[in-house]
């Protein structure tokens, strides 16, 4: 049986938030994978997985969201995958200028907005 659900990658370092986001998005009908930081997410993508959207935190150890985004854009096969930022860092932060994210949601997270955004882009 083929999984018909849209694949989503959640990248979040806080274990409690990661868990609850996986829980919520699966309930919403997505096939959710997760990574603890940017490097792990990049490895996931390099392994050939192609989520239809990446839900990305910014402040993370090892590799932060901005760096991950840059690395992803360098790979033409990955560049097209949209990013949805979910972060405590405000939308106006200058570091976000080159992110090219489809949307930017602030923490604390509004679950309704998250699901609406996912439905729009995926």
């Amino acid at each position: 049986m083929v999984d018909e659900r849209h694949p989503v990658l959640v990248v979040e370092d806080d274990r409690d938030i990661r868990e609850v986001m996986v829980e919520i998005l699966e309930s919403a009908g997505y096939a959710v994978s997760s990574a603890c930081h940017g490097a792990e997410a990049l490895a996931y993508l390099k392994a050939g997985r192609r989520p239809c959207i990446i839900v990305l935190d910014l402040m993370m150890p090892v590799m932060d969201g901005w760096t991950f985004s840059q690395e992803k854009q360098k790979d033409p096969e990955l560049a097209a995958i949209p990013i949805l930022v979910v972060s405590a860092v405000g939308r106006q932060d200058p570091r976000n200028a080159s992110m090219n994210a489809v949307d930017h949601l602030s923490k604390p997270l509004n679950v309704g907005k998250l699901i609406a955004a996912l439905q729009l882009h995926c």
């Binding site: 806080d14 409690d16 938030i17 868990e19 609850v20 986001m21 829980e23 919520i24 309930s27 910014l58 402040m59 993370m60 150890p61 090892v62 590799m63 932060d64 969201g65 901005w66 405590a88 860092v89 570091r95 602030s106 923490k107 604390p108 997270l109 679950v111």
Partner: protein, 870 residues
């Protein structure tokens, strides 16, 4: 005019005219007519009076009225003719009657003028006789008078000859000396009796001129013509001691008994020539002084001008402008270039004794000239320091020496020494006057040059300070700014300039350096690297930084160089740098010593003085202000950045647990009964975490505003530690970190706030667990020390970087900040620990052998807590 004392004889160049008339109106008229001729007119109102005047003096011409009562003109003329003195005076008759001219001539008249007189005719005729008289007078002075003297009285002639200031030498036509007066004896150095009858040219004419002399004599005897007769010529004559000297000569001849005798009047020109040379020299020197402000070079020119015209050896010594005001030989010239080095060497080997009672030091000290007209061997012996010196001084052959001070405004600047040796010259009063005049002009020139230089230096310094200040104000990046400033100091202020900074670890580090060229800079940097400097070392630079007082070495001495040269390479570099003068001034920033500015002169040869130190201090003061501004700016920027980072951290730390709580609430609301327990546990943990963050923020806020209160009671620390351990044990277990305690049961009681002390221990423990990876170990030690109780929390975690250790207890500071920080938290925990421990009268310290090698935090609390900072 007949009464009164006889008139003195007229000056040689004014002739006298005697006018004789019985009518005073005629005399007055005649006097008026004759006035334009410009000669002296003597009146006589009678023949007798005319005779009396003629006896008194010689007249160029007599104008004689024929018609006079008593003794008439013709009779008067006869009587005048009979007088010895008036025997050949020309007489002109004046007559209204018709005395035939012939009768007049018979009475010895030279002319007869008819009245009324034509004034132009009178003037013309009188003028002719005046001219005649003068010509005759000249001839008479040279030969005729002598002719007469010879004729009349040999004794009187000899007396006259000897009284003459000129040397008089007579020679017959065979070239033998016939006359030799006293002045000639002095001039030539022979006695009269030695030379009378001797061949003149052999004795008095230098050999190289003798041929010309013989030819001229032979030519005269053959033709009667001579170029030397009746004129003045300059020649060189020979003394008995074989020395030559310049003379001026007038030769006349005396014809007697069919043979001719020559009489030479000889003037010694030595003095006149010397005076001429002196004045030429003075003029040249003055020109040199006026033409240049470089007085050192000018004095070199002047001593070269002095030799050989006024000295065989000339030296200028100057008093050094800076203490100890040594006397330095500035210029030297010697008539014999080969002896220049020798003369210079002499001063080297036998330096001046500053306390000597004669010679240059004495002249400089007293401001009075010294003249040694004739240096005797006894004087040389007294002056000699040792046998070798005596031999050298004798070899030099000193004849005469004068030393004059160069004085301006009552201060001796130096002295000029003139030495006569080879030339056998003897200095006298006129030489000394010339030398003193030279010294006076030199003093003026030096004074002018120094004033000019001082003004130039002051201008340069002002310009430098203005430029430096502009550069210092141009940027808040002080490293760049200081580099610009040291560059500006070259070459106006120094040849090498450097700024050093005192580091926290006591190392004095070179910040920036500028020199005249790249090689010099490279050498200086290499030397600095070879000789690292620490604050506690006994070297000038470290002393200046320690004491905060500037130091200067006007003349860098040899021993200092050795002190600086522990390695051969350093020695070589020091030699290449050739430091002449050195100073270091402290660089103060906000009342503490930041470092020092070091300035060096080398190739310029310049010496620093007090004014230079003042300038460097002023520069350092301005540089200090610039550094202060830059530091304040950078600190303000840093504080701003820390605050921004802290705000971002607070925002992140507050939003993170809230996100988890809200997320799980959403899950609960969507009805997932199997997830309820997990959701509640997670929400609770996140709520606690957030509460703790808020408490920390409140604590810090209270600390900052001074409102934090301690609830003091006597407590056992062991219990407090135990309680904190119980709180963190689940966290350690969850992470897999081993927790070990070593508590002395009765470690000691203290007065304190149990909740706050527990917060201290909890913070230290949770930090240790947070930074220790799974499988690591955290140890807690509680020990009693005399008067104190010591708590040590050590871990095997990631440790603290050495550069972060000093800041570990500062607010908002986290060793790991920025977006990739691994660990959460606000970075307030240790700041709160620090504050609480100090509030209890204790102190806390951190140590770490380095990153990845764990850390140890030690809290020392007094057994009886001293309550401070409350």
């Amino acid at each position: 005019m007949t009464d009164g004392p006889p008139l003195p004889g007229p000056p040689a160049d004014v002739a006298s005219i005697l006018i004789v008339d019985d009518h005073s109106a005629n005399l007055l008229a005649l006097e008026t007519v004759l006035a334009p001729i410009g000669q002296r007119v003597v009146r006589a109102a009678s023949g007798q009076e005319a005779l009396a005047r003629v006896r008194e003096q010689e007249f160029a011409v007599v104008l004689l009225d024929v018609m006079m009562p008593g003794l008439d003109g013709l009779g008067t003329a006869d009587l005048i003719r009979a007088e010895q003195r008036g025997g050949d005076v020309p007489i002109i008759f004046m007559t209204a009657g018709d005395i035939p001219a012939l009768e007049g001539y018979a009475h010895g008249a030279v002319d007869v003028l008819r009245k009324p007189l034509d004034r132009d005719v009178v003037r013309a005729k009188v003028a002719v006789f005046v001219e005649l008289f003068r010509a005759r007078e000249l001839i008479r002075r040279q030969t005729v008078r002598l002719d007469a003297q010879e004729r009349n009285a040999a004794a009187r002639s000899a007396a006259l000859l000897n009284a003459s200031l000129d040397g008089v030498v007579g020679m017959d036509q065979d070239g033998r000396i016939t006359e030799f007066n006293r002045a000639a004896e002095v001039m030539f150095g022979y006695r009269r009796q030695e030379v009378i009858g001797a061949c003149l040219e052999d004795l008095l004419i230098p050999p190289r001129y003798r041929g010309a002399h013989r030819r001229a004599l032979a030519a005269y005897l053959a033709t009667g013509e001579s170029r030397v007769l009746d004129t003045r010529i300059e020649l060189t004559a020979l003394r008995a001691d074989a020395s030559e000297f310049p003379i001026e000569l007038a030769v006349g001849r005396v014809l007697a008994d069919g043979s001719v005798t020559f009489l030479a009047y000889v003037a010694d020109l030595t003095e006149r020539k010397r005076a001429q040379r002196a004045s030429t020299f003075l003029a040249g020197a003055s020109e040199a002084f006026a033409g240049s402000l470089d007085y050192e070079a000018t004095l070199q020119t002047v001593v070269r001008l002095a030799v050989p015209h006024v000295a065989d050896w000339c030296v200028v010594d100057m008093v050094a402008e800076r203490p100890p005001h040594a006397i330095v030989q500035l210029a030297l010239a010697h008539v014999n270039p080969a002896k220049m080095a020798f003369a210079a060497e002499l001063r080297h080997r036998y330096p001046l004794d500053p306390d000597a009672l004669q010679g240059v030091p004495n002249v400089v000290r007293t401001g009075h000239s010294e003249l040694y007209a004739e240096i005797s061997d006894a004087m040389v012996q007294r002056a000699a320091r040792d046998a070798d010196h005596l031999r050298i001084l004798r070899d030099v052959g000193l004849q005469s020496v004068m030393i004059v001070p160069i004085v301006t405004r009552g201060r001796s600047l130096g002295a000029i020494t003139f030495v006569a040796a080879e030339s056998l010259r003897r200095y006298g009063g006129s030489d000394l006057a010339m030398a003193e005049e030279l010294a006076r002009r030199a003093a003026l020139a030096i004074e002018n040059a120094r004033l000019y230089r001082a003004r130039l230096v002051a201008e340069e310094r002002n310009r430098f300070l203005a430029e430096a200040t502009a550069a210092l104000g141009a940027s808040l990046d002080y490293a760049t700014t200081l580099e610009r400033v040291v560059r500006l100091a070259i070459p106006t202020i120094a040849d090498l300039a450097a700024i050093y900074r005192l580091e926290d670890d006591g190392v004095i580090r070179l910040m920036t350096l500028a020199g005249r060229d790249a090689e010099q800079e490279a050498n200086a940097r290499e030397l600095d690297a070879l000789l690292p400097l620490r604050i506690e070392e006994e070297r000038l630079l470290s002393r200046v930084i320690r004491t905060g007082r500037a130091e200067m070495i006007a003349e860098v001495p040899g021993p200092l160089r050795e002190l600086w040269s522990p390695t051969s390479r350093a020695e070589e570099l020091v030699r290449q740098l050739a430091m002449r003068s050195y100073m270091a001034v402290p660089l103060m920033v906000r009342g503490r010593v930041f470092g020092a500015t070091a300035l060096t002169t080398s190739q310029s040869g310049r010496h620093f003085d007090v004014a230079d130190v003042a300038l460097a201090e002023e520069l350092a003061r301005r540089a200090g202000l610039a550094i202060e501004n830059a530091e304040l700016y950078s600190e303000a920027q840093n504080a701003n950045r820390l605050k921004d980072e802290f705000l971002a951290t607070v925002s992140h730390e507050l939003r993170t647990p809230l996100t988890a709580i809200l997320g799980w609430l959403h899950v609960l609301r969507s009805g997932r009964p199997e997830r309820v327990a997990h959701a509640i546990a997670t929400m609770e943990r996140n709520a606690h975490a957030q509460a703790r963050i808020i408490e920390d923020l409140l604590d810090v806020s209270q600390i900052v505003t001074g409102k934090l209160q301690l609830r003091l009671e006597v407590i056992e620390l062991a219990g407090v530690v135990q309680a904190a351990m119980d709180t963190v044990r689940p966290m350690a277990e969850a992470k897999g970190v081993e927790l070990a305690t070593y508590l002395e049961p009765n470690a000691g009681s203290t007065t304190g706030d149990p909740a706050r002390l527990q917060q201290v221990v909890w913070n230290l423990l949770s930090n240790a667990i947070k930074f220790t990876p799974s499988g690591g170990r955290v140890e807690v030690h509680l020990e009693a020390r005399p008067g104190n109780v010591v708590l040590r929390v050590s871990d095997t975690g990631q440790g603290v970087r050495a550069d972060f250790l000093p800041h570990v207890f500062e607010r908002f500071r986290q060793g790991d900040s920025g977006p990739t920080r691994v660990h959460g938290g606000l970075g307030l925990g240790l700041a709160i620990v620090h504050y609480l421990v100090e509030s209890h009268g204790g102190h806390v310290s951190a140590e770490s052998p380095g990153e990845g090698r764990g850390a140890t935090f030690t809290v020392v609390l007094p057994v009886r807590a001293v309550l401070s900072n409350l």
